[in-house]
């Protein structure tokens, strides 16, 4: 297994650092998946859903001007690593004003992801900062649990309102209840609802637009105004929204009810087609 990559562009480094900061805020440990075209940060929420709770995908060529990798084997040309999220974000923090940032897989006393930064300094010589971040290689048999979450044939899929607005609404709602109901339909309407014994608050968003759906046939008989709803933990939604530091070009939400009755909600945020973050939240209806 080998991996070497280099970033020289300041904006790319900035974007990469912000994504790393977002990951560090969401979970202590994360998985880094390295493949020939992409770099993924994967978070698992074993307690709640048993699956991937957040999936972040970066198109490698939009960030790195050098990128070489050799996976576990020829048929499985990928590398899955586990590391402490904060270690990476802290290492990247020291890379502001860097001339170049190099990341590579090394094995010093134990496997590490080595982040090496060449910093601009006042004098003619550069400063070189190196961080060796300990990592664990994830064996192939566990890879199946770390795949991209998809919502095949969603019932409803809708573009989200401006995330900042949505975040401030949800933040205020958090003070009243831990439980949020998200309703959306194919007519560009999204509602955020909280209910307690004393009060019920709903925020309505209209004219949001719906992304084109994959299969046309299923929707001929569908009532466009029919609201699909999912109950979720408000704090989990907030975590996802808080992590969105970058202004996305596209943010959408997909909802699906499978035959078993299990509801899944997927939020996806894309930025300039360079990075994509998907967050999965499951239904958490409380039966009273």
């Amino acid at each position: 297994m080998r991996f070497r990559a280099k970033i020289v562009d300041g904006a790319c480094l900035n974007h990469f650092t912000r994504i790393s900061n977002m990951i560090a805020k969401l979970a202590k440990t994360c998985t880094l998946r390295i493949s020939p075209d992409k770099l993924n940060f994967i978070l698992c929420d074993k307690l709640a859903n048993g699956g991937v709770s957040m999936w972040c995908e970066l198109e490698q060529e939009n960030f790195f001007n050098e990128f070489q990798m050799e996976g576990v084997s020829a048929e499985n040309n990928e590398i899955y690593l586990e590391l402490t999220s904060e270690n990476l974000s802290r290492a990247l923090k020291t890379a502001q004003n860097a001339r170049a940032l190099k990341i590579k897989l090394t094995n010093k006393h134990f496997p590490c992801l080595t982040v090496s930064v060449e910093l601009l300094s006042m004098s003619s010589s550069s400063r070189i900062v190196t961080h060796d971040i300990p990592i664990k290689v994830i064996p192939r048999k566990l890879w199946k649990d770390l795949q991209e979450p998809v919502v095949p044939d969603p019932d409803v899929s809708i573009y989200l309102p401006v995330l900042k607005t949505m975040k401030s609404v949800v933040e205020k709602m958090k003070n009243i209840s831990n439980h949020l109901v998200i309703e959306a339909n194919l007519d560009g309407e999204l509602n955020l609802k909280i209910e307690t014994e004393l009060v019920c608050v709903t925020t309505h968003f209209k004219d949001l637009g719906n992304p084109p759906l994959a299969s046309e046939s299923t929707h001929q008989d569908r009532n466009m105004e029919h609201m699909a709803e999912v109950h979720i933990d408000i704090r989990k939604l907030l975590q996802f929204l808080a992590g969105q530091q970058v202004n996305p070009t596209k943010a959408l939400c997909m909802h699906r009810i499978c035959r078993s009755g299990k509801k899944t909600l997927l939020f996806r945020v894309e930025t300039n087609e360079t990075s994509k973050v998907s967050s999965v939240l499951g239904d958490e209806t409380i039966f009273l």
Binding site: S121, S124, R127, I128, V129, T130, D132
Partner: protein, 389 residues
């Protein structure tokens, strides 16, 4: 007979003074206040005696500095309070009464001018280096060659904890105001104190000078901006290989004979005792005069007559020891930090030990409206305070 101290500081002077106290507080909870005609010195040493700080504020640093020894006062006027008065804004006046106790003066022997390696850096560089490490980082290693400088996580730590990030920063010699390296060196010392020293240096805007030699010999960080002179001395980890050949601890009483005698004593017990008082990992203890005596006596129990002799003539020894530091034989530390022995300089040692709280004068009267007043009354007696640095 009493001595009297009265200082007045403006707001910006208090800031610097405060940062000095803060930096020293990272070393120890206890602070020595030592006024003289040279100015007011603040000193402290940590419980394991592996870190020492001294900040000397010259009289011209203060708006007003008044110090006098030997002022006659009546017997029944005793007070042990130090009054700190602050005037905030125009109408608010705040008074802090802080208790102090008479204690043995603190002295360390370290001649930075004989150090092989000397660096001078801007505080900015130290600040950039410090952000590399987390607050949980205990020790850092400084490695130098005649061409460059590297600060890195201490090897020992990163090998123990498989989750710890190892970080290092290489800086070219042209980033230094002064860069003189006599020999390639790697020294390891405690990271915690560095941050306090940095905040203080940023308050003074003066560059930081670093003096050091080989592993085991303490490292000195100095800041001197004409009004304030600060010296922080940190013990460094003794290298196993260099242990035998080089002098390591800053022992106050140092005679070649004494160490030879200790070495000759068979068995680990005696050396264990000696190690007790110089081990860095010793449990924290409050520093009372008695403690100092205990430490010295622990070594005394090793049975060296030379040691006993040295105790009585400390002032003589200390004058000579500057030149003798090079010849002092190796300490018995095994991968432990060397420490600096501290002891009283007073020839009236006995008196102090018997009546530690004896001679404390009362607070003087009348509080004038001063901006900031720092006042301390105490009996200096015959104690001599000096610091050979």
């Amino acid at each position: 007979v009493a001595a009297m101290l009265k200082c007045v500081m403006s707001g910006s002077q208090v800031k610097v003074f405060g940062k000095a106290v803060q930096a020293l507080s990272r070393i120890s909870d206890e602070l020595w206040l030592d006024p003289s005609k040279k100015g007011l010195a603040l000193r402290c040493v940590n419980s394991s005696r592996s870190a020492y700080g001294c900040v000397l504020f010259s009289p011209v640093f203060f708006q007003h500095y008044q110090w006098s020894a030997l002022v006659k006062m009546s017997e029944n006027e005793l007070d042990t309070t130090l009054n700190l008065k602050c005037k905030l804004g125009m109408k608010i006046k705040r008074t802090h009464n802080i208790c102090f106790q008479e204690s043995q003066p603190l002295q360390v022997i370290f001649d930075k001018n004989v150090c092989t390696n000397t660096l001078m850096i801007q505080p900015r560089l130290l600040a950039d280096a410090i952000v590399l490490f987390t607050s949980s980082q205990e020790e850092v290693t400084l490695a130098v060659t005649p061409l460059n400088f590297c600060l890195k996580s201490s090897n020992e730590e990163s090998m123990d904890l498989s989750n710890a990030v190892y970080s290092e920063m290489f800086v070219g010699s042209d980033e230094f105001d002064f860069f003189q390296i006599g020999m390639d060196t790697e020294i390891t010392f405690c990271f915690k104190e560095l941050k306090g020293i940095l905040t203080f240096s940023e308050a003074t805007h003066a560059p930081i000078s670093i003096y050091f030699d080989f592993p085991g010999k303490p490292l000195a960080l100095s800041i001197d901006d004409m009004l304030v002179e600060a010296n922080f001395i940190l013990a460094t980890l003794a290298d196993e290989s260099s242990r035998a050949s080089s002098p390591q601890s800053l022992c106050l009483s140092q005679k070649r004979k004494r160490s030879d005698l200790i070495k000759k004593k068979a068995g680990k017990n005696i050396t264990g005792q000696a190690l007790e008082c110089i081990s860095r990992k010793a449990a924290p203890r409050r520093l009372y005069p008695k403690e100092t005596l205990t430490n010295i006596s622990a070594v005394e129990n090793c049975g060296s007559p030379a040691m006993k002799r040295a105790n009585g003539d400390i002032s003589e020894v200390s004058e000579n020891s500057v030149s003798n530091t090079e010849e002092v034989p190796g300490s018995l530390c095994l991968r432990k930090f060397s420490c600096m022995f501290f002891g009283a300089v007073s020839s009236d040692q006995q008196e102090h030990f018997n009546h530690p709280f004896d001679s404390l004068a009362r607070a003087s009267d009348s509080e004038e409206d001063m901006n900031n007043v720092c006042r301390k009354e105490f009996n200096g007696s015959d104690a001599k305070y000096f610091c050979i640095i």
